[in-house]
């Protein structure tokens, strides 16, 4: 009401009608910069108690952005109607576009650019960083390990997820079973690192505290330091952690898809004498094929970028390095921006075909 009133008053005075929007723009911008700037400085420089700091940070982060939208909308309500109509969509989508351009799109091109420069980023070296990746022994090992991760990890997650989804569908305690298998997805990779490091723990003496070595000892075997000394099989022990975490993800999505297989098809097959294994391979798998492709894609992309597990368990040592840990080592420890950028771009290039394949598939099947 107030705004309408103001507008009417303004209409009477033609000169100030042009000036007023400008004034509001300046005031709104100033207020935003002042408020957000001072909160930022308070958080950065103010000697606050941790709890106070957390509360202010949470409140600011949560309400602050809504306040920006609100004030900008209030601002353009003073603009001439024609302008306001044109500007309004950009207040809604502008911040998203700005952030994505600034923090994702442009950085990608900058990284591509940097990958053609040397370690300090000053001399153009062409493709030699990429040549280095595929000739240097340790980086080649990282590429090779990533490949093993992707193939073994994805295959195990997808097949186990599928089997468990089918089993759970036919069991008497579907909900509980699914919760248990799915639970690790809520656990961080670092947390999972602790959990599994404890399982692989090795003691030179008689009392093993790690479950794996205790089992090995029980059956008369020799306890070992699984994740450090048993090369190259230690990679396998790390991949098991991924399988433990991601199988639940595959299972939940497959489970939803399996529920979509029409019951009458299954019944008809059973009446025709097909056993459950035939039904699984001949009906269920073809029926949920697109879901299998989607889940496989997701896990492949996820596994290509695997970082946390390796970093936490071995720090990329003992022959377990993968592309993402090598990226971190090169960039942040060796300060080699050229190789670091090239490794990042290698990840991007590896991810692209997988996504395009998936998109083509989705287009064909769903008319997307």
């Amino acid at each position: 009401m107030n705004i309408e009133l103001k507008k009417e008053i303004l209409n009477e005075n033609k000169d100030s009608r042009k000036l007023f929007p400008l004034l509001v723009t300046i005031i709104v911008s100033f207020i935003n910069i002042f408020i957000h700037g001072s909160i930022f400085l308070l958080l950065r420089d103010g000697q606050l108690h941790p709890i106070t700091l957390t509360i202010i940070a949470v409140l600011w982060g949560s309400i602050g952005f809504y306040f920006i939208y609100m004030s900008l909308n209030w601002m353009i309500s003073f603009y001439p109607k024609k302008w306001g109509m044109k500007l309004q969509p950009f207040i809604f989508v502008g911040p998203a576009i700005f952030l994505l351009a600034w923090l994702l799109l442009i950085p990608t091109f900058r990284t591509i650019w940097m990958s053609f420069y040397d370690a300090s980023g000053s001399t153009f070296v062409g493709l030699s960083n990429y040549v280095e990746i595929f000739t240097n022994k340790s980086m080649l090992l990282a590429v090779q390990n990533t490949f093993i991760w992707v193939v073994l990890g994805t295959f195990s997650c997808v097949s186990l997820g599928l089997i468990i989804a089918v089993l759970a569908d036919r069991s008497s305690f579907e909900k509980i079973a699914k919760s248990i298998i799915f639970m690790p997805i809520a656990i961080s990779f670092v947390g999972a690192g602790v959990i599994w490091k404890f399982i692989y723990a090795y003691r030179p003496d008689e009392n093993q505290i790690g479950l794996l070595n205790a089992i090995v000892q029980f059956f008369g075997g020799e306890p070992k330091a699984w994740i450090t000394l048993v090369q190259p099989w230690n990679n396998l022990f790390l991949i098991i952690i991924l399988i433990w975490m991601m199988t639940g993800f595959a299972m939940v999505i497959f489970s939803a898809a399996i529920k979509g297989v029409p019951q009458d098809i299954l019944e008809a097959a059973r009446i025709d004498g097909a056993n459950e294994i035939t039904i699984f391979f001949k009906i269920i798998i073809p029926y949920i094929k697109s879901t299998i492709v989607a889940v496989t894609t997701t896990i492949v992309i996820f596994t290509m970028k695997i970082f946390d597990i390796v970093m936490v368990m071995t720090g990329g040592q003992y022959g377990t390095e993968v592309i993402a840990t090598e990226f971190y080592t090169q960039y942040f420890l060796h300060r080699n921006t050229g190789i670091g950028s090239s490794l990042a771009i290698l990840l991007l290039v590896a991810v692209l075909p997988v996504i395009f394949m998936n998109m083509n598939k989705a287009k064909k099947e769903e008319g997307f």
Partner: protein, 361 residues
């Protein structure tokens, strides 16, 4: 019919075994985090269950000048030093073993059903307050291990994770509304480009972002992590919210416009309340993602000890205090507590977010 019953039994059995294998790792961590520091370091967590183990019945003091190079006479039995080290089985369920080789005491042990069923909350106290713990080594000496103060890291993680969830959600909901219900030039091209940014791995953008943050002076602040998480989360949240908001019936908008409502009032008064289920689904997904993140916090907050989040602190503990299992297990559980609670309370929403957001990597 009988065949069916047998099949169901088989399915249930196999599934129980799989669930058991899946559950054991977490159970081990959980149980261990409540065990006393000396217990954790000397016995497996499964020994809390009844099992057969050697228990000392009585100790024999040998004379101080016993020659360890020759056979030793203990109650008529001749045994060597080596045999006493490994444990010399006299008869069934009875053996001799050094209690303390230097003090020349030998233990007579028998196999008995035992369980190390004792628990403590001390580990959590150490890990949350940073108090010191005194450990008695097997040889009787004592050493002191400093605890870790994770309470600060817990607060930091909250300060990182809550805004890093709400900011992208706010921006994504506004932009999803814009892309669904407003007209502007190149709308579809821009929308497809936004979704296309899903393919970009975080690693590709991290370093240029970091450089920019250094240049404008926000590096190392919470704001920098929020912005990074927002950028990496936006394509997916926008996609998810667009799927939902674009499905809202058109008549709702038309009647609202007739009443003279603006886009902003429609958004705040109508669309936001209607979108709560979708926001909850993708919000839980994003929150757990951010809470568990390690790489992004490591790069943007890595250099500032007082701003460390739980995942970093825990990873650091794994690196530097690998044998301090009492701290690691309790610390890991502190970091898991919140995501696991949310997971079990809101599993339905979480699954919905996952089904919609399964493209994220």
């Amino acid at each position: 019919m009988r065949k069916n019953k047998k099949g169901k039994f088989l399915v249930n059995t196999v599934l129980i075994i799989i669930c058991f294998i899946w559950f054991i790792p977490t159970l081990g961590l959980f149980v261990s985090s409540f065990r006393h520091v000396n217990d954790i370091n000397t016995s497996g967590w499964w020994t809390i269950f009844p099992h057969k183990a050697w228990v000392t019945q009585e100790t024999i003091q040998l004379s101080k000048d016993t020659d360890l190079n020759n056979s030793i006479d203990i109650e008529g039995q001749l045994v060597s030093d080596q045999q006493l080290r490994e444990g010399y089985v006299l008869e069934e369920n009875k053996r001799l073993k050094w209690e303390n080789r230097l003090a020349k005491t030998v233990a007579i042990q028998e196999k008995e059903w035992v369980s190390n069923f004792s628990f403590t909350l001390e580990n959590y106290k150490f890990v949350l307050t940073g108090g010191n713990v005194e450990i008695t080594n097997p040889d009787g000496t004592k050493r002191i291990i400093q605890g870790d103060d994770l309470s600060r890291a817990f607060l930091n993680t909250l300060a990182v994770a809550i805004p890093s969830t709400l900011i992208p959600l706010t921006i994504a909901t506004f932009s999803a509304y814009g892309f669904s219900w407003m007209k502007f030039p190149f709308r579809n091209v821009i929308f497809v480009s936004v979704i296309g940014l899903l393919v970009i791995p975080a690693q590709v953008a991290l370093v240029p972002i970091y450089k920019d943050f250094m240049n404008i002076g926000i590096a190392g602040s919470y704001l920098s992590v929020w912005l990074a998480h927002t950028a990496f989360g936006l394509p997916l949240t926008t996609y998810f919210m667009h799927n939902y908001i674009s499905q809202i019936p058109k008549d709702i908008f038309e009647s609202a416009f007739m009443d003279g409502a603006t886009h902003f009032t429609i958004f705040s008064k109508l669309i936001l309340p209607l979108s709560v289920p979708a926001i909850a689904s993708i919000g839980i997904f994003q929150f757990i993602w951010v809470w568990n993140d390690y790489l992004i916090s490591l790069i943007f907050l890595g250099g500032i000890p007082e701003a460390q989040v739980l995942s970093m602190k825990l990873a650091q503990m794994i690196g530097t205090r690998a044998d301090k299992w009492h701290l690691l297990t309790a610390g890991a559980f502190v970091s898991l507590l919140l995501p696991l609670t949310i997971f079990f309370m809101m599993q339905r929403y979480f699954v919905r977010g996952l089904l919609g957001g399964s493209v994220k990597g």
